[in-house]
């Protein structure tokens, strides 16, 4: 493959060219209710050529690997149609490397029949949990991707990317009220990461049934404590996306808003994106431009100190490379993305945080989150009211919203119990590239004056 790729980009007539080819085999097993909904496997091959000329990009994406030279020509022609300015493209070390997958239990060797039997067992646990369980979803997916990357600068990287994940969802119903519970898991190190999920399957069902009798939270402003997963979602959604410099690098007003050195939160608030974090869902040795991933402080002691870059945005802003240009797959060029983003541990234990709250909301786990620069919204799977310093009754429909700049300043306690979100079928979406694997995490945190949506 190496010779083939270098041969294809040889003799190009633009400033820079790279080519990425991928081969992916995946299998899936899905149960919905008592029935097997879908089972199968597929194979996807394809590639993308990027050509850079006078600041303009030309892309060619394809899954016919027959004539790579033609694809390079097409990308170069297109780049020349686009480019008319100055090229910004930060230099990076030329590397030749090969990253092999290390699997404890290789899911490719597990017969489809075994995968089906295991998911069926989880599904039975959900459906048999309680008479009010209406239906279930058990989704298993694995994929093994081989990626080859070559650039006109001489870099060649071969990487194997394995992934296996599971989602167990339960739907409970009582009259017109329908509620859901879910658990997810998996990892990059093999099939064993989805085995032994029986207890979590029961937990998903239990939560759905419990939520049937939980009242919706009353809308209003509360002191909110988020659990580790919600902290991770908050960090990713509300702050992380603002650190992606493709939003900033050609936008003077945004640069002013996100000026390095500006105070964003209390002392002791540290926000980090670390693509080299061992075992992180968003970890790789290199990003999709062949730049080494690393640990990048975004906020240090409450002060903005860095942001995430591609080779283009780093050059344009005159800041160091961070290794954050990532592509979902060969359909897409790399764009600036997070890897594993987290708030680092503070020193306040959860019981200390709770102590002073007369009336508040404890938001637990996430359903999803979305942001539009300074505005964010995210939904907890469920929550509890906090009354007189104690975690009190279960509530549903907990959605937090706010302005990130205000909300970061309103964090007044940072816990000491950092945890990462488990693997699952989800990921981050941006620019049509979804779901990209990212790690989310943090300790419990307390936010003052946080808006919780809902009927008054």
């Amino acid at each position: 493959m190496r010779d083939q790729l270098f041969e294809a980009i040889k003799g190009h007539d633009v400033e820079y060219v790279d080519i990425r080819v991928e081969d992916l085999v995946n299998t899936w097993v899905i149960f919905r209710g008592s029935d097997l909904d879908s089972i199968g496997s597929s194979r996807t091959r394809g590639g993308i050529v990027r050509a850079l000329y006078k600041g303009g990009w030309g892309y060619a994406t394809f899954n016919d690997l027959g004539d790579l030279k033609k694809q390079v020509r097409e990308a170069c022609l297109t780049a020349k149609l686009v480019g008319s300015g100055k090229t910004y493209f930060a230099p990076t070390e030329v590397v030749v490397d090969c990253i092999k997958a290390r699997l404890i239990k290789d899911f490719r060797q597990v017969p489809l029949a075994d995968k089906k039997a295991l998911m069926e067992a989880y599904n039975k646990i959900v459906l048999g949990y309680h008479e009010k369980i209406q239906t279930s979803i058990v989704r298993y997916a694995d994929s093994f991707k081989s990626v080859w990357f070559a650039s006109s600068e001489g870099t060649f990287i071969e990487e194997e990317v394995p992934d296996v994940n599971i989602y167990v969802g339960a739907t409970a119903r009582d009259g017109d009220i329908v509620q859901k519970g879910f658990e997810s898991g998996g990892g990059a190190d093999g099939y064993q990461s989805v085995e032994g999920f029986h207890e979590q399957a029961a937990t998903a069902a239990q939560k759905a049934v419990e939520l049937l009798s939980a009242p919706p939270v009353k809308g209003g402003k509360y002191t909110v404590i988020t659990d580790q997963i919600m902290t991770g979602v908050f960090t990713h959604e509300a702050f992380g996306h603002l650190s992606e410099s493709d939003f900033v690098y050609e936008n003077p007003q945004m640069q002013e808003l996100m000026q390095l050195g500006k105070r964003f939160g209390v002392r002791g608030l540290n926000i980090i994106d670390d693509g080299s974090y061992p075992g992180g869902l968003g970890s790789h040795r290199y990003d999709s431009e062949g730049v080494r991933m690393r640990k990048n402080y975004l906020v240090k002691d409450g002060v903005l100190v860095g942001r995430l870059h591609s080779r283009e945005t780093a050059a344009k802003m005159g800041e160091p490379l961070t290794g954050n240009a990532r592509a979902l797959h060969f359909n897409h060029p790399p764009i600036v993305r997070m890897t594993n983003t987290y708030i680092d541990n503070g020193s306040v234990p959860l019981h200390e945080m709770l102590k002073d709250i007369d009336l508040g909301v404890y938001a637990v786990k996430m359903i999803g989150g979305q942001t539009a620069m300074e505005m964010f919204t995210f939904s907890a799977a469920y929550g509890y009211m906090i009354r007189n310093g104690q975690v009190a009754e279960l509530v549903r429909d907990v959605t937090l919203t706010g302005n990130v700049f205000e909300t970061l300043h309103n964090i007044d306690a940072i816990g000491d119990d950092l945890q990462w979100e488990p693997n699952g079928p989800g990921g981050c979406g941006k620019g049509g590239q979804h779901p990209l694997r990212v790690g989310l995490g943090g300790p419990h945190i307390r936010i003052q004056n946080c808006v919780v949506g809902g009927q008054q």
Binding site: G33, I177, Q179, N251, F376, T377, T399, T401, G453, Q455
Partner: protein, 432 residues
């Protein structure tokens, strides 16, 4: 590689088989931050195979047309453990004639697409030079081939043309994004009209209007109606109905919405964004009423769900998605709707769609782009506001439906449809 070869290879072991091949060529030009940023040419082929062996279903797909052996053997393996087939692939059917191919798009090349994008961007810039503008022009030519072991064989060549214009405006810590797009299967799309609509959304947001928490009348723009349609779509999904998860389960023939509300799924509209004569399971598509004068008429089914539920498939084989959703116009003009409101909201775009519990109808959405209506006039953009309620309740309390309708389609939308403005009598608003 012909689909017949895949079918006949499959039939050595299978009792039934179907294969669908999608071949796509796309050209895109993308403007960001006031300049042409990138252009892309894309070629894609995908083959999806579904087989029935001993009454069980197996599926497989590949992007490599020469991989006949691989795709067939993986589907056959999957079928050994597959779900029971509650259906068989359909016999050849007569198809409605549809207009889905515009030869005028064949000759459209990137230089001209670039000047179309530039023109939209220039219009936005001339309204306000401080806007960092963007634009997208995309042309797609694709071919769908369908074949099954019952002898059904269809082929359709589509064109598609997607346009988008908009940008972002930053004032202090206030950031405003506006994107307006349109997608049709023909070239006849007015770039000026799209840019003008984007400008209108900027214009209405020139001032920020405070609003207190409370209950207000709310007008949904055609795009904004997604807040309600998301729940309705899930509830109309035959699978959710069959599984008992849909709150509309058992309500066919009952009044579920205001009697002025009539909506149909229409896959036959000439050059409509989702127009097509057959679905990816070989079922002919037909115009289908969903709600007539507020009365629930039909759910949507694919082959498998229809088989399980014991009903006819409705031609919604692509994950049971609606095609072109058409809502009948009402009798009030949009202007009169606004004029009639003392204090309320016009809502267009949200954050947090699909979070929470959409199938239940409950929503709690951050208003990404919404406007205050005061004393019969638009009074500016509202911020830090959440809109909460229940979609099924809201559809019962419709105050007015506009005479005007707009196409909702293209790169920035969640569904395809021809939709009026709809005013709901009151919804709960939480303001910060």
């Amino acid at each position: 590689m012909s689909l017949e070869k895949i079918i006949s290879k499959s039939m050595e072991k299978a009792q039934s088989a179907q294969a669908v091949m999608l071949s796509t060529e796309t050209s895109t030009v993308d403007f960001q931050f006031d300049r042409l940023k990138a252009a892309e040419s894309s070629q894609r082929t995908q083959i999806d195979l579904k087989v029935i062996v001993d009454g069980k279903v197996g599926t497989s797909s590949t992007t490599d047309p020469s991989d006949v052996e691989g795709v067939v053997s993986r589907a056959l393996e999957a079928a050994q453990f597959g779900s029971p087939a509650n259906f068989d692939f359909p016999e050849p059917q007569s198809l409605e004639p549809v207009q889905i191919f515009d030869p005028a798009l064949l000759t459209l090349e990137k230089p001209e697409m670039i000047s179309m994008g530039q023109q939209m961007m220039d219009m936005v810039k001339s309204y306000n030079p401080e806007i960092l503008s963007g634009a997208l022009v995309q042309k797609i030519i694709y071919k769908v081939d369908y074949a099954n072991s019952k002898g059904a064989k269809y082929s359709a060549k589509h064109t598609a043309f997607n346009l988008g214009a908009g940008g972002e405006l930053v004032r202090g810590t206030d950031i405003l994004f506006v994107n307006k797009g349109l997608g049709q299967k023909q070239r006849k799309v007015d770039t000026e009209e799209i840019a003008a609509q984007a400008i209108e959304y900027f214009r209405m947001a020139e001032t920020i209007a405070p609003i207190a928490s409370g209950e207000y009348p709310v007008i949904f723009t055609p795009s904004g109606l997604v807040a309600l349609l998301l729940s309705l779509g899930l509830a109309l999904d035959g699978k959710n109905v069959f599984l008992g998860a849909s709150p509309l389960h058992g309500k066919i023939g009952q009044q579920i919405a205001d009697p002025r509300l009539t909506m149909v799924d229409d896959p036959t509209i000439a050059f409509g964004p989702a127009t097509s004569a057959f679905d990816n399971e070989g079922t002919a598509r037909r115009v289908m009423p969903l709600i007539e004068k507020g009365v629930l008429r039909n759910f949507i089914y694919d082959l498998d769900t229809a088989g399980r539920a014991g009903v006819q498939p409705t031609g919604h084989g692509t994950a049971r998605q609606l095609t072109n959703l058409v809502i009948n116009p009402g009798e009030t003009s949009f202007d009169d709707m606004i004029k009639g409101i003392e204090k309320g909201l016009l809502v267009h775009e949200f954050l947090g769609l699909g979070q929470g519990n959409p199938i239940n109808g409950e929503f709690s959405l951050n208003l990404f782009l919404g406007y205050k209506i005061e004393k019969g006039k638009l009074a500016g953009r509202v911020k830090n506001v959440m809109l909460s309620g229940n979609a099924f309740e809201a559809l019962k309390y419709i105050e007015a439906i506009s005479q005007e309708r707009e196409w909702v389609s293209g790169p920035f939308e969640y569904f395809n449809g021809l939709i009026p403005y709809i005013q709901v009598s009151k919804l709960s608003v939480t303001a910060k």
